[in-house]
C-alpha cells in the first residue's frame, strides 16, 4: 500500500513537472512568434545548445578573425580541447595559412602559442590539416606522427598528444580549417566530433558572411585610396604639362635668349593675385589657371577642366541664377572668337559652393603681331560686394520711404491747419463763409490722400480712399452715407498722379449729393466694370434738386465741370442716371488708372 501511494506521489510529481515543462514550452513558442527571443537554449539537447551559443558568439564578433577566435573558444570549452588555432584556405583551396585566431585554455596551451608565434619558419600546416582541406572531412592525428621540426617539437614539449583538424565548409568548399589539440584522446571525443559537425554546419555560413563583409570593406578602402591617388596624379601631371609648355629657363639661357624680368615674374604674380586668371591657347586648351581661379570656381579637388565642361562642372549660370550659361557665352570662349567682354556677371553654384556666388568676368583676346594666340579671362568673386550694395540700396530705399511718409504726414497736418485757419477767419469775415465751405471739404479730401500716402506702403488704394473721403464728408456735414465696395476693387492701387484728383472728384460728387439730395442716405458703390471700375454716387432727389439731367447734362453749378476737369483725361467718364426718384453720378475709371500689378489682380476671376 505504501509502495503504491509512493508510486502515485511520484507519478503526480512527474505529471506536474511535465505540465510545467509543457506550459514553458508553449510560452517559449509564443515568445518566438512575437519575435522577443534571441536563441533557444536546451538543457536536454546539448548539440542544439552548443550550436546556439556558437552562433551567438560568431554573431557577436566584429571581425572575421574575432569570430574564429570566439568559435574556437566555444568548441574547446565544450569538447575539452586545450588549444585551438584557425587556418585560412587560399582562394585556389590548395594551401593554408595560419591566422591570428586562436584559443588557449591552459598554461601549456598559452606556452605553445607563444612558441608557435616565435617561429619564423616551419609554418607549413601539418599533414592532417592539408588532408582536411582536400577531403573536407575531419582528420585525427597524433603528435608522434608530425614531421620533425620546431613546431612539432613545441607541440610535444607542451605535452599535447592528440589533435583533430576540422573543416569550415561553405557551399561545399573548405574556407578554413580549425586545429584543436588536447593531451589525451577521450572515449567521448568521437561523439563530440558529431556535435562539432552540427555546430560548424550552422555557423560556417555566418563565418563566411563576416569574411565577405571584411573583403568588401577592404575593397572599398582600396578603391577609395586608388581614386585619391589617381586624382593627385592627374593634378600633378596637369601642373607638369603646363610647365612643359613654357620654355625652360635653362633652355633660354643655353640659347642666350634673355627672359624679360616681367615675364619671369608672371607665374608668381598670377599666384599672388586675388582675382582668378585663366588663359587659353588658340585651340581653346587651358594653359594657365591660377589658384584664385580654382578657389573662386570651387574646384575641389583641383583639376584642369576643359572649357566645354565648365558650365556643367562648375555650375555656371547667367545673372538670373536660373539659365545655364552656354559654352558660347563663356567670356573666355567669346574672347577666343575675338570679342571683348567687360565685367560680365555669372552665377556659380556647384558641390563645393552649394550656396552659390556671383563672379564678374572680363576677357580679352591675346594677339601677337596681329596673329591670334588665345584669350585670357580675369574674374573675381563679387558676392559680398553685391550683397553689401543691395543692403545699402535697401537701406536708402527704406530711408526714402520713411522720409516720404513723413512729408505726406506733415502735408496732411498742414492742410488740416489751413482748413482750421480758414474757418477761424470766416468768423471775422462772414462774407467769405460760402467760399470756405466750398474749399474746406476739398482741403480735407487732399489731406485724406496724403494721410493714406503716409501709411505703411506709401500707396493709395481705391477702397480706403473712397471710405476716407466718404467718412470726411459724413463727419463734416453729418450726412448718412452707405459705402459698398466689391472685393475686387478694394485693394486696387491708384497711379500716383491720380489719387488727389480722384479724391476731389469723389468729394464734389458727395457734396453735391448732400446739398441737392433728399433725406435718404447717400449710397456709394464701387464695383468692377469690364477691365475698369465704376464708382456710383446716388441719392434721392430733394425739393431744390438741380440735376445735370435737367439742364442739359452739365448742371448750372461749378461742381460738375470741376469733376470733369479733374477726371483722368481719356481714361475716365462721368455719366448720370435719373431713375425712379434716384439720381446717380457714375464715374468709370479705365484699367490704366491703376498700377499694373493692381490691374492684373483686378483682372483675375473673383
Amino acid at each position: 500500500m505504501d509502495a503504491t501511494e509512493s508510486r502515485l506521489r511520484d507519478l503526480s510529481a512527474e505529471n506536474r513537472r511535465i505540465a510545467t515543462e509543457l506550459a514553458e514550452t508553449r510560452e517559449v513558442l509564443r515568445a518566438i512568434r512575437r519575435g522577443e527571443v534571441d536563441a533557444l537554449v536546451s538543457s536536454e539537447a546539448d548539440a542544439v545548445y552548443a550550436i546556439q551559443l556558437a552562433a551567438l558568439a560568431v554573431e557577436k564578433a566584429e571581425t572575421y578573425l574575432e569570430s574564429l577566435s570566439l568559435l574556437l573558444r566555444q568548441l574547446c570549452l565544450r569538447g575539452g580541447w586545450e588549444y585551438g588555432e584557425a587556418w585560412s584556405a587560399s582562394k585556389d583551396r590548395r594551401s593554408l595559412h595560419r591566422t591570428s585566431a586562436w584559443y588557449g585554455g591552459s598554461s601549456d596551451a598559452i606556452r605553445l602559442r607563444e612558441s608557435i608565434v616565435r617561429l619564423l619558419f616551419d609554418e607549413a600546416p601539418q599533414t592532417s590539416l592539408m588532408k582536411t582541406l582536400e577531403s573536407g572531412s575531419p582528420q585525427w592525428s597524433r603528435a608522434e606522427e608530425l614531421p620533425a621540426g620546431p613546431r612539432s617539437a613545441a607541440i610535444r614539449q607542451c605535452g599535447f598528444q592528440t589533435s583533430v583538424a576540422f573543416p569550415v565548409m561553405v557551399g561545399g568548399q573548405v574556407v578554413a580549417v580549425l586545429s584543436l589539440w588536447k593531451k589525451q584522446r577521450q572515449p567521448q571525443d568521437d561523439a563530440a566530433m558529431a556535435q562539432i559537425a552540427g555546430v560548424m554546419a550552422e555557423v560556417a555560413p555566418m563565418l563566411q558572411r563576416k569574411r565577405d563583409e571584411e573583403t568588401l570593406r577592404s575593397t572599398l578602402s582600396e578603391l577609395q585610396a586608388a581614386v585619391r591617388e589617381r586624382t593627385l596624379e592627374v593634378a600633378r601631371l596637369s601642373t607638369l604639362r603646363r610647365r612643359d609648355r613654357r620654355p625652360p629657363a635653362d633652355a633660354r639661357a643655353a640659347t642666350g635668349a634673355k627672359q624679360p624680368l616681367p615675364l619671369l615674374c608672371l607665374p608668381a604674380l598670377l599666384e599672388t593675385m586675388a582675382e582668378g586668371v585663366v588663359v587659353a591657347d588658340a585651340l581653346g586648351q587651358l594653359v594657365e589657371v591660377n589658384t584664385a581661379a580654382r578657389n573662386i570656381l570651387g574646384d575641389d579637388p583641383p583639376r584642369l577642366v576643359p572649357l566645354d565642361l565648365w558650365a556643367d562642372l562648375y555650375g555656371l549660370y547667367h545673372a538670373d541664377k536660373v539659365t545655364r550659361l552656354d559654352y558660347d557665352h563663356i567670356p573666355l570662349v567669346m574672347a577666343l572668337h575675338g570679342a571683348t567682354v567687360d565685367r560680365m556677371e555669372i552665377f556659380v553654384r556647384n558641390g563645393a559652393r552649394p550656396e552659390g556666388c556671383v563672379i564678374q568676368m572680363s576677357a580679352r583676346p591675346l594677339a601677337d603681331a596681329g596673329a591670334r594666340q588665345g584669350a585670357m579671362a580675369v574674374f573675381e568673386d563679387v558676392t559680398q560686394r553685391k550683397r553689401a550694395a543691395e543692403d545699402r540700396l535697401q537701406r536708402i530705399l527704406a530711408q526714402r520711404d520713411a522720409l516720404l511718409r513723413e512729408v505726406h504726414h506733415r502735408i496732411k497736418n498742414n492742410l488740416a491747419a489751413v482748413s482750421e485757419l480758414l474757418l477761424h477767419h470766416t468768423r471775422e469775415h462772414p462774407e467769405f463763409r460760402r467760399i470756405v465751405d466750398q474749399v474746406q471739404p476739398q482741403l480735407r479730401a487732399i489731406a485724406t490722400v496724403h494721410g493714406l500716402k503716409a501709411g505703411t506702403d506709401g500707396m493709395v488704394h481705391l477702397g480706403p480712399l473712397i471710405t476716407s473721403v466718404s467718412d470726411s464728408i459724413a463727419s463734416l456735414y453729418g450726412v448718412q452715407l452707405r459705402v459698398s465696395l466689391a472685393d475686387g476693387v478694394r485693394a486696387l492701387r491708384l497711379q500716383e498722379e491720380e489719387s488727389v484728383p480722384l479724391a476731389l472728384v469723389l468729394n464734389e460728387l458727395l457734396v453735391n449729393a448732400h446739398k441737392h439730395g433728399g433725406q435718404e442716405p447717400v449710397d456709394v458703390d464701387a464695383s468692377r466694370d469690364g477691365d475698369g471700375v465704376a464708382i456710383k454716387v446716388s441719392n434721392t432727389l430733394g425739393r431744390d434738386a438741380i440735376t445735370p439731367g435737367r439742364d442739359g447734362g452739365a448742371g448750372n453749378g461749378k461742381g460738375i465741370p470741376l469733376v470733369r476737369a479733374l477726371l483722368p483725361h481719356g481714361r475716365a467718364t462721368l455719366d448720370f442716371e435719373n431713375t425712379a426718384g434716384r439720381f446717380s453720378a457714375i464715374v468709370r475709371l479705365a484699367n490704366e488708372v491703376f498700377t499694373a500689378d493692381a490691374a492684373m489682380i483686378g483682372a483675375s476671376p473673383e
Binding site: 510560452e27 533557444l40 538543457s43 551559443l53 551567438l56 557577436k60
Partner: protein
C-alpha cells in the same frame, strides 16, 4: 552584471513587503538582451520601487547556468522570490504581460 542587495529573510514577510528577487538570463549584448534589461529595470522601478533585486546572467560567459536553471530560451526572466517561482520568456517589451506574469498585477 546588475545586482542590488537587500538584507533580511524575505520569505517570512507578507507579499506586499517582500523584496522581489529576479534573475534575468541573457546572451551577450544583443538588442533583445539590452532591451530586456532596460525594460525590467523600468518596470521594477515603477511598480516595486526599492523592493527588488535584479541579477543578470550572461549565458555567453556562464553557459552551464542555463542547464542548471532549466532555461529554454534567452532572454528569460525568473522570479525567485516571492514563491512560487515564475518564468517570463522574451524581451519584456509588453509591460502588461510582465506585470501579470510576475503577479504584480492580477490577470
Amino acid at each position: 552584471m546588475v545586482a542590488t542587495t537587500k538584507p533580511a529573510d524575505d520569505r517570512r514577510k507578507p507579499p506586499g513587503r517582500q523584496t522581489w528577487k529576479l534573475r534575468l538570463y541573457v546572451a551577450g549584448q544583443t538588442p533583445r538582451s539590452v532591451a530586456a534589461i532596460e525594460n525590467l529595470e523600468r518596470i521594477c522601478h515603477e511598480h516595486l520601487q526599492d523592493r527588488y533585486e535584479i541579477e543578470v546572467i550572461d549565458l555567453l560567459k556562464n553557459p552551464r547556468l542555463a542547464r542548471d536553471h532549466q532555461v529554454l530560451a534567452v532572454p528569460t526572466l525568473v522570479r525567485q522570490l516571492p514563491d512560487p517561482a515564475r518564468k517570463i520568456i522574451g524581451d519584456l517589451s509588453n509591460v502588461e504581460r510582465v506585470l501579470v506574469g510576475l503577479e504584480i498585477r492580477a490577470a
